[in-house]
């Protein structure tokens, strides 16, 4: 009889819980610990942020589903890790603090045989002075509540524009080392389309601001992709789309301070500049949650578990960009010091960025942190669950399931505007996610047939179809497991 505790009920935590519960008999316990009572399909937040979807369409409550499926659920947030137990408790445990109304503030030691840390990122707004969603005219779409606020801000501005106001909209990254450029990219195109739909496009100047060195970097060092019968670089494709939509761009910029309607930034030339705006959506930096870990005698062993995010089977030896290889990236997401702890999705510490690191003359690092999108988050969670299932069944450690981001594809179906007949999407697939410059030396580290781009209405339909398919899957409706991660 084993007890598997999963921290977090986002894409990776929920995928892991669902597979574990389906494949393990009920003598084994599966428990999810997460502070949010709802599951949210984060990729659709961009539509909430332009008022084309209600937040209730992208979420559902977890407790009834978990009860029905026999998955334990504690609405709590984990604060510290005791992978060896402590003087009173033999078994390893995590310390959690309840956030649910009935038990708010109560703490509990939650023991485990296997632990999956799927707590994703901390949205580190504090790292940028004045960046606080909903204040200073700056917003976020990283959660459904943020996206609701963003739409309130944007719709109020649209009303003013209808009265003749000229406005400046700035969308992009809100920190020198932010990631998730893809989400901001989708949002800027959706905002642009919404302004056209509301017939105020001519009143707005729209600017993309980003820590990317080139457009289309997306934190993945850009890519060479096939587009119809052409082969083009992702920066050429994004440039084409932005120019066509009248979107200006500022690159290589690390936003460091937000004041009311002003974003201050430093660029790669070391210049300190600012841009005024009436509405901004800026993705914050992502960081680890600052968890602490202790050994049996209560000594701090945080560095054995965390390096910001959780340490896994990656090669963390510092080395220059030219020496990075796909082999640096983890395969099993197992913590090297405590073999019963795993960290799929965004929760694991990447060995380094994917994009080339760059510094301004003032020494400020300005480049994207590595993204870990929904698909790899789901895939890595499933393989972690499969390894745990095998280990339980074989009664010895089994790590046959492997999935490095250097040998895994990703599909990024970026919405470029909502609408069944007027919508658009930019579908980009990449294989592998981390470029393998040794294996694919002539194609910028990627396999061309599997790295392609498409623009058009079909992309919007596909993104919408994925929205419904993944919510169906997350609700664990009949045959949900046939839908791939």
């Amino acid at each position: 009889m084993s007890k598997i505790v999963i921290l977090g009920a986002g894409i990776s935590g929920h995928v892991a819980a669902a597979h574990l519960r389906r494949k393990l008999d009920k003598t084994h316990e599966v428990v999810v610990v997460s502070p949010n009572s709802n599951y949210q399909w984060i990729p659709s937040n961009i539509w909430v942020g332009v008022g084309r979807m209600k937040s209730k369409e992208i979420l559902f409550p977890l407790a009834p589903l978990y009860k029905k499926k026999g998955i334990g659920f504690k609405q709590a947030k984990v604060t510290s890790f005791f992978p060896e137990g402590d003087s009173e408790t033999e078994k390893p445990f995590v310390m959690a603090e309840y956030v649910s109304e009935e038990k708010r503030g109560e703490t509990e030691k939650i023991t485990y045989d296997y632990l999956i840390n799927a707590t994703g990122p901390k949205l580190n707004f504090e790292a940028t002075e004045g960046l606080n969603p909903g204040t200073n005219k700056a917003y976020s779409v990283c959660t459904y509540t943020h996206a609701d606020h963003a739409w309130q801000g944007l719709s109020a501005l649209i009303e003013e524009m209808k009265q003749g106001k000229e406005a400046r909209i700035v969308i992009g990254t809100g920190h020198a080392k932010a990631t998730c450029q893809g989400a901001a990219f989708e949002y800027i195109l959706n905002v642009e389309q919404e302004l056209r739909r509301q017939k105020v496009r001519d009143k707005a100047k729209i600017t993309w601001i980003s820590n990317e060195y080139q457009l289309g970097d997306f934190g993945m060092d850009g890519m060479l992709l096939s587009y119809g019968s052409n082969i083009m670089k992702s920066h050429e494709m994004v440039e084409m789309v932005f120019e066509d939509r009248g979107i200006e761009w500022i690159l290589g910029s690390g936003v460091n301070k937000i004041e009311d309607g002003i974003a201050h930034y430093e660029n790669l030339d070391g210049e300190l500049k600012n841009i005024e705006f009436d509405f901004a959506m800026l993705i914050p930096s992502f960081s680890g949650h600052g968890f602490k870990a202790f050994d049996k005698s209560n000594q701090d062993i945080t560095e054995k578990l965390f390096k910001g995010f959780m340490l896994v089977d990656a090669d963390y030896t510092p080395k220059p960009y030219e020496e990075w290889t796909v082999q640096d990236w983890p395969e099993t997401y197992q913590n090297p010091n405590y073999k019963n702890i795993f960290a799929p999705g965004i929760a694991f510490a990447p060995p380094h960025s994917i994009s080339k690191p760059r510094k301004s003359p003032n020494g400020t690092e300005i480049f994207p942190a590595p993204p870990r999108t929904g698909m790899p988050s789901g895939i890595t969670a499933k393989l972690v669950a499969d390894n745990i299932i095998d280990s339980i069944k074989k009664q010895k450690e089994s790590l046959d399931h492997k999935g490095s981001m250097g040998n895994m594809g990703a599909a990024c179906i970026a919405s470029a505007g909502f609408g069944m007949t007027k919508g658009s999407g930019i579908s980009i697939t990449t294989f592998p996610i981390v470029p393998d410059y040794k294996k694919y030396p002539d194609t910028m580290g990627r396999k061309l047939g599997k790295t392609f781009g498409e623009i058009g209405l079909a992309g919007h339909w596909l993104k919408l179809a994925l929205h419904y398919a993944f919510i169906y899957k997350a609700k664990m409706r009949p045959f949900w497991y046939l839908i791939p991660e």
Binding site: S404, A411, E485
Partner: protein
């Protein structure tokens, strides 16, 4: 605003019939890439 997409290309991008077939094609292609598998990188010949 600089026109970077020709009228013909735009027609292809927004025509529901052409795009319906594109949708089928894209869905299959994305599925193949996802279902196409993943693995480690540390064994020779991965």
């Amino acid at each position: 605003m600089t026109r970077r997409i020709s009228n013909f290309k735009r027609f292809v991008m927004m025509n529901p019939i052409i795009q319906f077939f594109k949708f089928i094609f894209l869905s299959i292609k994305v599925l193949l890439i996802v279902a196409g598998g993943h693995g480690g990188t540390r064994k020779t010949g991965y």
